[in-house]
Symmetry: D3
Subunit: 227 residues, 6 copies
Amino acid sequence: MYELGVVYRHIQRADRATAEALAALGSATVHEAMGRVGLMKPYMRPIQTGVQVSGTAVTVLLQPGDNWMMHVAAEQIQPGDIVVATVTAECSDGYFGDLLATSFQARGARALIIEAGVRDVKTLKEMNFPVWSRYISSKGTIKATLGSVNIPIVCAGAYVTPGDVIVADDDGVVCVPAARAVETLAAAQKRESFEGEKREKLASGVLGLDMYKMREPLAAAGLRYID
Amino acid sequence: MYELGVVYRHIQRADRATAEALAALGSATVHEAMGRVGLMKPYMRPIQTGVQVSGTAVTVLLQPGDNWMMHVAAEQIQPGDIVVATVTAECSDGYFGDLLATSFQARGARALIIEAGVRDVKTLKEMNFPVWSRYISSKGTIKATLGSVNIPIVCAGAYVTPGDVIVADDDGVVCVPAARAVETLAAAQKRESFEGEKREKLASGVLGLDMYKMREPLAAAGLRYID
Amino acid sequence: MYELGVVYRHIQRADRATAEALAALGSATVHEAMGRVGLMKPYMRPIQTGVQVSGTAVTVLLQPGDNWMMHVAAEQIQPGDIVVATVTAECSDGYFGDLLATSFQARGARALIIEAGVRDVKTLKEMNFPVWSRYISSKGTIKATLGSVNIPIVCAGAYVTPGDVIVADDDGVVCVPAARAVETLAAAQKRESFEGEKREKLASGVLGLDMYKMREPLAAAGLRYID
Amino acid sequence: MYELGVVYRHIQRADRATAEALAALGSATVHEAMGRVGLMKPYMRPIQTGVQVSGTAVTVLLQPGDNWMMHVAAEQIQPGDIVVATVTAECSDGYFGDLLATSFQARGARALIIEAGVRDVKTLKEMNFPVWSRYISSKGTIKATLGSVNIPIVCAGAYVTPGDVIVADDDGVVCVPAARAVETLAAAQKRESFEGEKREKLASGVLGLDMYKMREPLAAAGLRYID
Amino acid sequence: MYELGVVYRHIQRADRATAEALAALGSATVHEAMGRVGLMKPYMRPIQTGVQVSGTAVTVLLQPGDNWMMHVAAEQIQPGDIVVATVTAECSDGYFGDLLATSFQARGARALIIEAGVRDVKTLKEMNFPVWSRYISSKGTIKATLGSVNIPIVCAGAYVTPGDVIVADDDGVVCVPAARAVETLAAAQKRESFEGEKREKLASGVLGLDMYKMREPLAAAGLRYID
Amino acid sequence: MYELGVVYRHIQRADRATAEALAALGSATVHEAMGRVGLMKPYMRPIQTGVQVSGTAVTVLLQPGDNWMMHVAAEQIQPGDIVVATVTAECSDGYFGDLLATSFQARGARALIIEAGVRDVKTLKEMNFPVWSRYISSKGTIKATLGSVNIPIVCAGAYVTPGDVIVADDDGVVCVPAARAVETLAAAQKRESFEGEKREKLASGVLGLDMYKMREPLAAAGLRYID
C-alpha cells in the first residue's frame, strides 16, 4: 500500500470484454449493481458531455505540483486502459494537457480520471480524449519527485487497484474491482433489462407508488394524507 | 412547519396563467421585481443550458439518502407544476433519475428543483426534462423513512410554500409567493418594457453614467477623477 | 494601493499588438512562459466554452452587493480592453448582466473577468460577450458606495495593474504585467513552436520518457520497476 | 414574507419560562424532541465554548456588507431575547462587534445567531456575550440600505419566525416554533429523564445492541457475523 | 472490499505495545516515518485540544443519516482500539454522542475517528473521550440500513484495514498499516532522537541553511541574492 | 512582481515603533482606519486564541508541497518581523513546524502568517509562537524548487510588500503598507479614543439609533414601523 518510487509492470487486468461491456450500462446502473459502493466523490466532473466509457485501471500516485509519474505511467498503458491518478495532497494544478493526451491516446488509453487539475481542455475535447477531473487549471507542474505507478490508490474516496474496471459518464465515476467485474456486469444487465418495461409503464401514467407496491409500506410507516 | 409523515393533497396553486407568464421574464428580472428576495443560493445549477421555465411548486421534504417521498410526490403533481425538493441534511446522493423523470413528465411536471443530487443527466437532457440541482451523483437512494409532501420547506435558502411560483433559468431559481404572483408579474413586465430602449441607447454608445444620471450622485459621494 | 473613491483616467496600456497576439497562445502556454506566476485561482470559470481572448486591463474595485463602479468603469474602456473586477469581500451577487454588457461591448471591451457573480448568462452568450466569473446569480446589486477604477487590485489571487495584459480561455485567466508582455509573447511563441513537433512524435508512439530523456534522472531518483 | 424596510414592533414571543427551560436540555435533545427538524446548518459555529443558551427570536434581515438593521434591531430587544440575523446574500463581513454587543447586552439580549461574520471576538468572549456565526472577520460594514426587523427569515437553512425559541450550544443551533415550545419542552424532558439510566447501563458494559434490543432486527435485515 | 451487511469478528490487530508507543511520536513524525503516506485529509479536526492518542482500528461503514452500525461496532471493540468510521456518501449528521461514547469507553476504546458529524461535544470533552470528526451537528440519525464492521474502508482519503494503527493529535490523523507498525515506530523514534539536538542548534541561532547544508544546492538551483 | 529564485536582502521596513504600536489597536480597528482595505480572507485562522501581534513583513513565495524557501527566509528575519508566506497554488501541506518555529523565534520573528498548512500546533502554542494559517496538516514538504523571499506577494487576497506592517489577532490579519503606517496608526488611535465613551453610553442603555442619530436617515430611506 502506498509504496513510493515503484512501477509495477505486470498487473492483473479485468477481462477486457467484460470491462468494455460495462460502459453501455453507465455509472449509475453499475453502481447499483455493485451494491452502492465504489463510487468516486461527486466533485469529479467530466470536461466533456455525453461521453460514456469503461476500461481497466492503470493507477498513478503523484506529488503536489509534480506530474513526473504521468510520463512514467504512459509506458504502462495498454489499449483499453483508463489512467486513474491522484496526488498525495489536494492540488489544483494542471497535471495533464494535450501533449500527454496525445501520448496516452497513442498508447491506447480510453480516458483519464484525475483527482487534481487538467489543462488544454478545449484541445482535449477536440481530440476526443475524455477526462474526469476535480479541477481545470492553466498551471503547469514540475518533474522532480517520485510517486508510483500501478500501486493501489485512493482516488476521490474510492479505493482503486490496478486492473480494476473504471466506468465513467456524465453522472460520475465508479470503480469495479477486477474480481467482481463479471458478476457486476451480469447484475447490471439484469437491472437494465427491467428498465424499459418500467419506463413504459411510468410513461403511460402508472405511478411508482403502484408499480413498486409502495402504498402499504408507506401506510405502515405512518404516512398520513391530509385533504 | 416541518411536519413529518404527511402529504397535503389540496394546495392553493398560484394562478396558472400568471405562473406561466413569469417564465419569459427570467429569474433575474423576476427577482428584481420581487424587491430582491426569494432567490435560492447560487449553488443550485441547471444540468442543461438555455432552458427557462416557471410553474407552481409541489414541495418535498426528503431524508438523507432516501428518495421514498419522491414517489409519493409524483401522485400530487398536476400539469404545470414544478417539484421542489430538499433534504433534512445536506446530501449529494442521486435522488432522481430517468425513471422518476418519466413519471413526473407523464404527470405534467415542468421541472425539478432539488437541493441534493440527481443522476442519468444525459438521459434527462435527451428527455427535455429540466433540472436544477446542487449535485450530480451516480449514487442511488433507499426507500425507508418518511418525509413529507406539500408542506412549507426551505430549499437552498429560499422559503417555499406549496403552490408558490418557481422561475428558473441559467441564472438561478426564484420563488414567488402565490399571493404576490400577480403584482410581481406586472412589476417584472414593466421592468422588461424599459429594457429594450435602454439596450438600444447603451448599444449606441450612451453611457450608463449619463442614461441613469449618475454623475452628480457620484460626485456628491466624493468620487475623484485623476488624470 | 487600494485607494477608494478614485478613477484613474490615464493608464499605461501594454502594447496593443502584443496584447492581441497573446490570445492565440492560450493561458496555459502564456503562464508557462511567465515562469508559472500570475494565474488567477481556478474557481474563475468561463460562462461560455471555446473562447480564447486577450486584452489590456481596466480594473474595478467594487463594494459588496454594489455595482456602481461598473458604470464608472464603462467610460474608461478603450477598444481592446478587458475589464477586471473584484469586490472588497467575497460576494456572489450578479454584478453584471446584458445591459452592462451592451455598454461594455459598445465601448470596445473584449471580455469581463469578475471575482463575483454575473447574470443574464444566456443573453451574454448570445451576444458573444465572454465572461469569466466566480459565480452566476440572478441577484442584482445596488448603487450606493464608492469603490475605484484603474487602481492596482488583487483579483482571484492575482495582482493586476491597469494596463496589464489579460489572457483567458477555457483553462483559466492569466495576468501578464505590461512591462513583461513583449518578452512573454516571445517566450510563449518559442514554446509553442516546439509543440507541433513534440505532438507528432508522441502521436507516433514515442514516449515522453525517451523524448524528454527522463529515464536517467528517474533511475537516479531511485525509481524501481517491478515485474 | 421577506418584506423589506419594515420593523414589526409587536411580536408574539413564546412563553418565557418555557423558552428558558429549553437551554438546559441542549440543541441535540431539543432537535430530537422536535422530530429532527428546525436545525441550522452545521457551519454555524460558536465563537466561545461550553455555553448553552435559549431565548426568543428577534429576527433581522440584512443587506450585503451593511449592518444598519442591527442598530434598528437593538431597540426591539427585550430581556431574554436572542437576535437571529441573516443576509440577502452570503457575506463574510464582520456585522457585529463589541459596541453592538454592549448595546444588545444592555437591552437584555442573551446571544446573537448570525449567518454572516462577526469581529472583536476576544472582547465578546470577555463580555460573556455568546455568538454563533458563520464567519469571523475584521471587515466592517456600512449603513446605507434597509433590510427588516422581526419578519420571518431563513437563517442557515432554518425558517425562523419572530418569537420562536432558539436553543444553541456547542453542537449547533435549533429553532423551536413558538407554538410548539411547550410540547417540545415536555418531549425533551422526557427523553432526558431516560438518559441517566441508559448511561449507567452502558457504562456498566451493557451493549446498546442488547439495551435497545437490536439483535433481532439486525438479523432480520440480514446482518452476517463472520468469524 | 466494501462488502455490505457483514461484521468481521476476528481481526489481526497490530502489536499492542507498538501501537501504543506511536502516540508519543505524534502524527507528523509518524507520517514522515511512513514516507509521507497514509494521512487523512486535513478536514478531520479534533473536538478537543492537546490530546495525542494511538490504537488499533475497528472500522465501520455507515449509511447516510443512519448510525445503526455504530452499535454493532461497540461489541467488537477491545481495550486499546480506536473506532474509525465513514459513510457511503458525505453526511454531516451527528452519528455519535455521549451515550455511544459511554459504551465505547466502557469497552476500552481510546478514541473515535469519523468522517461525518458528532454531537454532545461538550460532554464528550468532559468524559475525556477524544474524537476527530469532519463535522459537529446536533442532528441525530436513524437505525434502518445495514453497513459493515471491520471491513477495509476509505476514511477521509486514507485506506484503513481493521487492525491498522491510528495515530491522532492536533495536527491530524495517520493510519499505519499493521504490517508496517514496527518499522514505522523504529523510523519515527530515530527521527525523534535527532530533533532535540536540532532544536537546540536552531534555538542558539544556527540557521537551517547551515545545519542542513542547503547553501550549495540552493546556489546550484540558481538562487540569487540581491542587495 | 513574482520574480522566482531571488532573495532581496535589503527591504524598507516600516518604522518599528509605529509597527509595534498597531498591535494594541487590533485588526478590526486598523482595517477601519485604513478605509476597509488590506484584509486577508477570513479563512486565515489563528492556531491559538487571544493573541494580538504586529510586525514588519518578510515575504515568502513557496512552491506546492515544498518549504525550501522557509529556510532561506529565516536568515532574512530581523527582530520584530512577521513572516508572510504563500504558495503558487493552493496547498494544505504542513510547511512549518516546531523546528522552523525555533529558528524563526531565535531570529526574533513575532509570528507567521501562511496561506497553506502548518503542523506541530500543540508545540507551537507551548512555544508561544503565534501562527495564522489556512490549514493544519501533519503532512511534511520537500526541498526541491526555488521560490522567492522578499518580493511583493498576494497572500490570502491581500497584496503584501516586504516591510509592510502586519496586524493579526483573533479577528483576522490586515496588511498596512509601510508608507501608510504612520497615518493609519493616528487614524486608528483616534477611532479607539472614542470607543470608551461610546461603550459607556451603550452600556447605560442609550441606543445606537440615538447615539449615531440614525432615526432621520432611516425614516428618509423609508423605514416603516408596524405596531
